[in-house]
Subunit: 294 residues, 2 copies
Amino acid sequence: MIGIDWGTSSFRAFRLGDDGAVRERRAASRGIMSVADGKFADVVHEFAGDWLKDGETQILLSGMIGSRQGWTESKALPCPASIDDLAQALTPVPFDGAQVFIVPGLFTHDADGVPEFIRGEETQIAGLLPVIGDSGLVCLPGTHSKWVQIESGRIATFTTYMTGEAFAALSKHTILGRLMKGDDVDEAAYLRGVERSADAGGLLHHLFGARTLVLAGEMSETATWSYLSGLLIGHEIRSASTTYPDEVVHLIGEPHLCELYAHTLHIYDCEAVVREEEAAVLGLAHIGGLVQWN
Amino acid sequence: MIGIDWGTSSFRAFRLGDDGAVRERRAASRGIMSVADGKFADVVHEFAGDWLKDGETQILLSGMIGSRQGWTESKALPCPASIDDLAQALTPVPFDGAQVFIVPGLFTHDADGVPEFIRGEETQIAGLLPVIGDSGLVCLPGTHSKWVQIESGRIATFTTYMTGEAFAALSKHTILGRLMKGDDVDEAAYLRGVERSADAGGLLHHLFGARTLVLAGEMSETATWSYLSGLLIGHEIRSASTTYPDEVVHLIGEPHLCELYAHTLHIYDCEAVVREEEAAVLGLAHIGGLVQWN
């Protein structure tokens, strides 16, 4: 089987053995935003054409490739959903010479009835479930951080925080960015930002403090990047810890970011474990193993 | 006397009578950021040179002209501070043919010890004090919204929210901006955003909802601009109402924005009154009347 984790900005293809092990892998900056005129099949032929010629006939895709901007819009299943539910709701994509399916995304609602979506993370969770077991809390930090609750072996619900994208916009396009000198990590400033997130006044007030601390000579300009990072991640974790209390947090994603979140969670007296970075391919193998291929 | 309200992006000069009334006014896009090589005196000559030739010898400046990036860095007084305190702590600026002073800014600390600064708003408050009286709460909404507490006729403390600037960065430089179609005001969407700010999950979570509501078909793309605006202003007002409870809010600033804040405050059952838009010139006249000019 060929598994492809195909996101907005990245394309990662894996040739998997019958045991689910990765035999070969390819990565390219061919995220769906880089593919013009819907020519997704051409990208598959370019990066996996030799595997197809060598006899592969099964392709499983996950990620934003199943969004409205992708190849074919895949289903979105309601939570709670099991891995079996995912495997039974694949969306077929017409393709010459192989069977192609896209893993569905999931939707849920937060406590106040506002909708939530994931697309791609459900496959990463599927890859992690064997080590998490029947229940647990998974955090996938990043541009749109996701906190996913596992119950009875199913994805029960999840919450998104726009932390990474808000950080990028605020650090590049506000007066805070003009203060910033460099993006060196300053551990003490990061922790100061995390602590600040617990203060009164809310995020919009706290943001301005990154400027006034510098104006007052109480923080160096080189520290503002880390302070803002700590402030935003602190707000995310503080809120998520309220929504999902008393849980061990399993972290999946870019290793450096996961370590940072684990470190921050420990400040909040939460248990945190950094898990498999390559959860997507594990999930593709897991789901692919449940599919009735022709 | 000549009063000049000189901010980051705007320059407004007033020729005042002995009674403090405005006799003439000039405005230009000559904020301090537009003035190269510190040539602030040239701008004064360009826009008020005829007044000087006509016998004016007293110039009082307020706003960012007194910042490190301005003409001369003026003092910052600690709170609480009275209008007399401001008038007695003016910073002189060398200038041929007239006495020039800059009104000091103010500083304070929030409940958690983080510094706060204002520069310019103290003069607007000075203009409003005769109608507010000895105590009250003033809100100056905008890029960096200020909430200022008046006690015993003095400026007691204040809090800043980076609401306007965060809105600009998030609406132009995130996925929310790519959703937005136009900036038409949608009253219902604005109120929906305000109400959302009271929900659980925090601002970073609420931001993402502006996207998911559209994805789920529960909100139109044209509504996202107003929804985000209501969300951020709601967060600001909700936090400020906690910091400064049970107060009538006097609003100073751009009339449309003040009306929007007043409307929103009424939702929170707060009393709100939109006050004089031209508080700055009233404050310059008030402070100028207390100065011992040569």
